[in-house]
């Protein structure tokens, strides 16, 4: 059935379109406009002054911005890699229906995904705590002495990445599990009649059929890790020094610590285009998968 009556289409679609427009396009245009201005909220008497591309030039020549880009690359690649590997292994194990209490175990494993990231951040900050934390104590028991994990410039970023993996691996687990369950069991029967071992059928049956699920996870995890803010903010606020200052924290400081709205708007545009580039690349990949896969 197709809706043909134009007026009906309009009535049903218009409220959403207007609201969507108001909440997306307007701020976007407003943001572009502001990004060409200098606007310091702590000096209201100066108002909004046109500066052309100055804000963009300043951001790209800021050492702290470039360092934040580097940290973001480390954060995103390790967090995405870690959560995909862990989620994949979990899915391979928990696809076996013969395991006792399988449904309860599956449900328990997705808890981190729906627990508020702020609570997760504080829980780990407490566990990492130098005096009260259970993790430094446990490490001490096996002879590793690192009391101040989050205060250590070399370790802090990796300690936070571990928390991201903890909270997001269940996403990869869920999607992989659904994808593996969707594979036709006859394919495995054929493989085992042909004498394929578990690892062979994993490599030649399961893995190739998971390509699409893998790409979807890769895309969404990359974008979400790129946007990650809550856990970092709660655990380190970018510290010690600037050692965990990734792009989202850098932007937050620009806007809501430095109150430089022009610079923050320019930065928001940069963030937006990075995400656009990442998603376009992946969407191309997925489309190619659909045509040739």
């Amino acid at each position: 059935m197709t809706l043909k009556n134009r007026r009906e289409i309009l009535y049903l679609l218009l409220p959403s379109i207007i609201i969507l427009f108001a909440i997306t396009i307007y701020p976007f245009i407003n943001g572009i406009f502001n990004s060409f201005h200098e606007w310091l909220l702590y000096r209201p008497q100066l108002g909004r002054v046109f500066v052309g591309l100055e804000q963009y030039i300043r951001i790209f020549s800021d050492v702290n911005f470039l360092k934040a880009v580097g940290r973001t690359l480390i954060y995103v690649s390790l967090a995405v890699f870690g959560s995909i590997v862990l989620g994949f292994v979990q899915a391979l194990v928990l696809v076996r229906e013969e395991i006792k209490g399988i449904n309860v175990i599956r449900s328990l494993l997705i808890i981190p995904l729906v627990a508020a990231p702020v609570v997760v951040g504080f829980a780990f900050r407490f566990m990492y705590n130098a005096e009260l934390g259970v993790l430094p104590w446990l490490l001490g028991q096996i002879g590793i002495q690192i009391p101040r994990i989050l205060g250590d410039p070399k370790l802090a970023l990796y300690a936070v990445i571990l928390v991201d993996i903890w909270s997001q691996a269940p996403f990869a687990f869920l999607v992989f599990l659904a994808a593996i369950q969707g594979i036709n069991p006859e394919l495995y029967e054929v493989a085992s009649i042909d004498g394929a071992s578990y690892w062979q059928s994993l490599k030649h049956v399961t893995m190739p059929l998971l390509r699409r699920a893998f790409l979807v996870i890769l895309l969404l995890r990359t974008i979400d890790a790129f946007k990650a803010f809550d856990i970092l903010y709660v655990m380190t606020e970018g510290g010690p020094g600037r050692e965990t200052e990734v792009l989202s924290i850098f932007g937050y400081n620009l806007a809501f610590v430095g109150w430089r709205m022009g610079a923050a708007s320019a930065f928001a545009m940069i963030m937006f285009y990075i995400v656009v580039i990442i998603s376009t690349l992946y969407i191309r990949l997925i489309q190619r998968e659909e045509t040739y896969g």
Binding site: M1, T2, L3, N5, I9, Y11, L12, L13, P15, S16, I17, I19, I23, T24, P27, N30, N34, V89, Q90, V93, L94, R96, I99, L108, L109, I110, P112, V114, A115, A116, P117, V118, V119, V120, F122, A123, F126, E131, L132, W137, W166, L174, V175, R212, V216, I223, K227, F229, Y233, S248, F256, M261, S265, A268, M271, F272, V275, V276, I278, I286
Partner: protein
């Protein structure tokens, strides 16, 4: 000779099989410890006194106190719970009421701009919240809406509305259109079709969409931290206030943390069947 070989082979196969089973359960045990320990640990902490969390080695068995929960359910944390409820419920209702008709049109109608509208909606899932917050902050500041429920409900629409449209569109496209056609021929209006046919048939999916939107909104921190003040702050924001000048009040914060995560965990278990579709924006069907 042959028989002996046979039995030794089946025996070694059995051994291998039980070895694999043991390995499997060990692995599952590790997964469960890794996943549940942090949650369990803040739960235990929420039942401790400040003296008890200072103990070395950390206490696993102790006399529990419920004082931290008594504190949480009084005063400012209670206000934050109310704020979270008001904001999350409003976000859910607005998202679905506005999103459902749009989802219906996108699922059923063929018009030129359909692809663009879909792409636009998808791109909002991808857009970094930072791209929204600066213009929103300035606009709300100009309108005097900072520190109000309304500001947060409006900005939450940036994720709840596209999410509702996307989820419901994929569900409605799976419905056979014949029933709707019959109703239209009988003189039912398009709006009547949505209310009397589409809504009842997709009720479970609407409920799941509502649950997932509620979870996103309940856990949302980035916008809430910037846009709310002491009287309108939500649960995640209020946790920050347990950081005092003298250090962090870990025991009360843990109790508040448990209160903040229990509702979403229960809701997620109810909507578990729909989680994959919801979290991948329909890119993987479950």
């Amino acid at each position: 000779m042959g028989k002996r070989l046979e039995t030794s082979r089946t025996r070694s196969l059995q051994w291998r099989k039980s070895g694999i089973t043991i390995g499997l359960y060990l692995l599952i045990g590790l997964f469960l410890i890794w996943t549940l320990f942090p949650i369990l640990w803040i739960f235990l902490t929420s039942l401790k006194t400040t003296q008890q969390i200072n103990a070395i080695p950390p206490l696993f068995v102790f006399k529990p106190t419920f004082e931290n929960y008594v504190h949480v359910f009084s005063g400012k944390t209670m206000t934050a719970l109310q704020n979270s409820l008001i904001i999350s419920c409003s976000t859910v209702v607005l998202g679905i009421v506005v999103g459902l008709p749009a989802a219906y049109v996108l699922a059923r109608a063929r018009f030129k701009a359909r692809g663009q509208v879909n792409f636009w909606i998808l791109s909002m899932r991808m857009a970094p919240p930072f791209a929204f917050i600066v213009p929103y902050y300035l606009t709300f500041r100009f309108l005097g809406l900072l520190d109000t429920h309304l500001a947060l409900i409006l900005i939450n629409l940036t994720f709840s509305l596209p999410f509702a449209v996307w989820m419901l569109e994929s569900v409605i496209s799976d419905l056979p259109a014949e029933i709707e056609e019959a109703a239209l021929i009988d003189g039912c209006s398009r709006f009547g079709v949505i209310r009397q046919i589409v809504v009842p048939l997709t009720a479970p999916s609407i409920a799941a969409t509502a649950i997932l939107t509620f979870i996103f909104s309940w856990n949302e921190f980035f916008f809430a931290n910037i846009l709310t003040g002491t009287t309108t702050q939500t649960m995640p924001v209020t946790l920050i206030s347990f950081i005092g000048l003298m250090g962090v009040n870990w025991v009360q914060m843990s109790a508040a943390g448990i209160v903040a995560i229990v509702p979403t965990i229960i809701l997620a278990l109810l909507a578990q069947r729909f989680l994959v579709r919801g979290l991948t924006l329909g890119a993987v069907k479950s």
